[in-house]
Amino acid sequence: MIYLDNAATTLVKPSRVISAVQRAMQTMASPGRGAHRPAMLAAETLYDCRAEAAELFRVPEPEQVVFTMNATHALNLAIHSLAKPGMPVVTSGFEHNSVIRPLRSLGAELRVAGRRLFDPTDTLERFERLLPGAGLAVCTHVSNAFGYILPIDEISALCRSRGVPLIVDASQSAGTLPVDFGALGAAFIAMPGHKGLYGPQGTGLLLCAEPGRPLLQGGSGADSRLPLMPEHLPDRLEAGTHNVCGIAGLLEGLRYVREKRPSAILAHERGLLALAVQRLETLGLRVYAGEAQSGVLSFESPGTDCEELAGALAEEGLCLRAGLHCAPLAHESAGTLERGTLRMSFSAFTAPEEVRAACGRIEETLSRLGNRGRSREKE
């Protein structure tokens, strides 16, 4: 099997992540639920994870790192904290549904800034034009469908100069691109644990400049006599029992990323991207590539249904993602909303030989599908 769906979930994890999950399951209870050894061991692990994330993303205090179920949960927390019905909210033209749906559900007025793929200048100009009068900006750092790296430093500077709070979706950038909470000055930065941070599924982080508004109310392990959730972070946004095993794995994933260095992981993935672009273009496929691109690549075979092709490739042991990638706005911006694309995405564990072999399987499968199509025409 060749797994190239790392933008959804990195399947291959550092072995220490797997060991940590197992160790947590065998030795840890719930943090904040007792002073006994298993509870305190869990508490230490959670704090270590907050501290590790705070170091990696330059968050002033570990308490500003909130654990969530995933990036969608983190984005919902952030958006529900800041957006209001009727509030003008600026987003890029490449947002995931985890941004667009909560905003629409709240009745915010969406202003979409920049729909040109791999064109940071256009994105920035559109943000500048639409920010005046906005109450909030929400922007992805990297398009999950196309790998387009948006000019987030410049967008955050614009937001700061206009006094507009910014929420950053770092789902595809955390672990590969610099995400500097202090320098960005964002109100919130959301990210999953199970993609570029190599943690288990069911983990996510929300980096917070302010306490925010809880989505869930319940036990926090402290201040039990208060009628409402505590005012302070992280307790305010973390009701209920934590995913201790997942967080133990995420801690090791974060340590792996810090040791490996995000810039080195990005360079590795970009090398694979260049190789894939070159190979796929020789097959006559439409490849969406640009300068400002991370290790995520969309492509399509004109005349072939992307889901049908992905299904045939899955039968050949090649794991890609087809369709709209939960980002119809991004596909609308790129002009691929009606047909979707196939997406290939890499990780620190992807080898060049896998990319070459994947392109070979795509060529063979297209040839087979084409032959089958011609046979049907004859019938």
């Binding site: 704090y47 392990g221 992280p234």
Partner: protein, 83 residues
């Protein structure tokens, strides 16, 4: 030996306080605060055996918030340390 308890607003803050003190060479342990010492129910504290004043100064220098401070002589009862 006298025990000192520095109440903290959350488990995470107590952990940050304890680690800051440990890094400075002061033995500090995160404990659950005795029920009678908290007003909002279920709280956490940092327990020390000595150097209270220098510990509190260190927390203040590092902008780590803390609440009431208690001391308990060996065999005695907790009483609040006036500051």
């Amino acid at each position: 030996m006298t025990q000192y308890l520095i109440l903290c607003r959350s488990l995470s803050t107590a952990q940050r306080a304890a680690r800051t003190l440990e890094r400075a060479g002061t033995t500090a342990v995160v404990v659950k605060a005795p029920a009678g010492l908290t007003t909002s129910g279920c709280g956490y504290a940092v327990s020390l055996r000595k150097d209270l004043e220098s510990a509190l100064s260190l927390l203040e220098r590092n902008r780590i918030p803390y609440g009431k401070v208690f001391m308990k002589p060996q065999g005695g009862e907790y009483r609040e340390v006036e500051r």
